[in-house]
Symmetry: C2
Subunit: 316 residues, 2 copies
DNA sequence: CATTTCGGTTAAGTATCACTTGAGTGAAGG
DNA sequence: CCTTCACTCAAGTGATACTTAACCGAAATG
């Protein structure tokens, strides 16, 4: 009959029993005798002042109160278990889990994995591709690489990795029809709106201004998602002002070309993120160091083939 | 050095210590001596194989591992505590927490609260206005009243409360300028798009068809949110086809009028929801019964002043 | 600079509680 | 009808969580 927390072992006994819907199996899982488990449940029910299970003769059913208690206890013990495993992994200097967006993982990270494995053969690197914003202080992910801008969250260690740029892209076929920068004045434009919120804006009017071309009509298809805009471009619908990082794959395959300067630097960039304090853990430090190295190499490489012109840019 | 779960009491000791950042205070909270707490933490660290606190001489700091473990254990014990309190409340037949949307709470529920208090003076009714979809099986909310359509979630008990209707509404001034149904053919229309997904559709074309009026051009302002559309209507921008439940307040105040039939019934409706099984708990049953009663009375009342014409409707 | 104070630690002793054993119960199932 | 199975009960035991009391070292105090 107490509102105070019951003994935790009794709660765990209940959680296990509710999960198995059997005292027998629950007792087996906890490595105790059924009698012990029965007693624990009973003491919990005394604490609560009401039964949690209806004892059928060869089975048990949850009561209303039991049904309310079960999901919460399950959540609770799962959280505790996850936390414990996460803490345990801190001492494990042999593995490292990194999450990044699918595009970045596939086009940037995966091809370089062998290089990392060679440099750090003792570290097992696990990749987790996904856009969901994982909570680095609460999950088993050590490092996140995310694209974004704005102030760094204070509870995280953050380091800028890569700038990103937007530049006109089109199919080679489209490029033949519009061989000069000026000919873009008549090309069908594809607008991708999820980068418009950036400041300075990285949209077509901004690019025309930066290119020294006269403003034109800004009609054309508008997409709110980058991959849709690139899909449309791939199908020959027009010329898109796309983020280089999203399109590297298609540029490399020759399905898209980016013949015209300037490229506009977006304010947003790729960032290395980990829980503040964990940047000194050996595997994380090693990975960060390696990443920065790779970024530097890649930058050299890219300025070679003149895809991007860093000098031409920076509208304010 | 074990990956197995540590003793739960030790985990709780750690959680409390991490929250207070002081063994002394943590011991006080748990009603034990500092020595006991110190020992618990020590045993936990042995289990983990690494220290969780750095012992400064008059203070403690978390280690890396401690920083990883702390938030998860906090979450876990909070979940357990919430679950326990929720289970405890099941036996508490004296209070009842209900969540509903802000509009429904303000215009429908709140004015009738006194009636409920008179009918059930022993039940303390708590209201929680908000649109967030609370999880009735995991939180301390007993009952939700939500607007929606589609199949009922299987883990919930669900009962239809109120149909909703859409009918043309405008300011009295606008109604003077458009005194007949037919005159709506030239009135400025306001479109509210969040009800279009309903099947059968409840948009202006459907209403004109149901009214036996000729189709017209469907230009006019379009809003994705109902309150914006009603705001525009209130400012005299045109005639809106709005859900009655959203506008009752303005209709009652005379700021809007709804002179023209028919009213179209939407497929969506207000529903009473609670965790399956808990519909038999006395306060919940009492509240449900009272709600149904109130709904019946309101229906009588509304058909009085001829706001809605249930016979005229049902396009398929 | 000595002294106090405070927060944490250690070690030994103790009370509690979680568990086991073994017998018991009542209904489902052959 | 008798067996079996899942849970319960009571008594005894062992682990564990806790207390007491002494100890330690740095920060605060005079």
């Amino acid at each position: 009959m107490s509102k105070r927390m019951p003994p935790l072992t009794a709660l765990r006994a209940f959680e296990t029993a509710a999960r198995h819907m059997s005292f027998q199996n629950a007792a087996a899982e906890l490595n105790v005798t059924p009698a012990a488990l029965s007693f624990q449940i009973k003491s919990l029910e005394e604490h609560l002042g009401a039964p949690l299970f209806v004892r059928g003769n060869r089975s048990v059913r949850l009561t209303e109160a039991g049904r309310v208690l079960a999901p919460g206890t399950k959540d609770g013990f799962e959280a505790l278990g996850a936390a414990w495993r996460a803490a345990y992994r801190v001492n494990d200097h042999a593995s490292l889990t990194v999450t990044a967006g699918p595009a970045f993982t596939a086009t940037w990270l995966a091809p370089r994995l062998y290089s990392f494995a060679r440099a750090h053969p003792d570290i097992e690197l696990r990749l987790s591709a996904g856009l969901g914003l994982v909570d680095l202080t609460r999950t088993e992910v050590d490092v996140a690489i995310r694209f974004g801008y704005g102030p760094d969250p204070p509870e995280l260690y953050s380091e800028k990795l890569l700038d990103d740029w937007v530049t006109p892209m089109m199919t080679p076929e489209m490029a033949r029809r519009h061989p000069t920068r000026a000919s873009l004045s008549t090309a069908p434009l594809i607008h991708q709106e999820d980068i418009d919120f950036l400041d300075p804006p990285c949209d077509w009017p901004a690019w025309f201004r930066a290119a020294g071309l006269a403003p034109r009509d800004w009609t054309g298809q508008r997409f709110s998602q980058a991959d849709h805009a690139i899909d449309a471009t791939l199908s020959g619908a027009g010329v898109v002002l796309a983020r280089v990082s999203f399109a590297t794959r298609f540029l490399a395959e020759g399905r898209l070309v980016a013949p015209f300067r300037p490229a506009l630097r977006t304010l947003a960039h790729y960032r290395f993120l980990c829980a503040r304090g964990s940047e000194t853990r050996p595997q994380i430090a090693a990975f960060r160091h390696w990443l920065v190295e790779q970024v530097a190499q890649a930058a050299d490489h890219e300025s070679d083939h003149d895809l991007i012109d860093p000098h031409d840019v920076h509208i304010t």
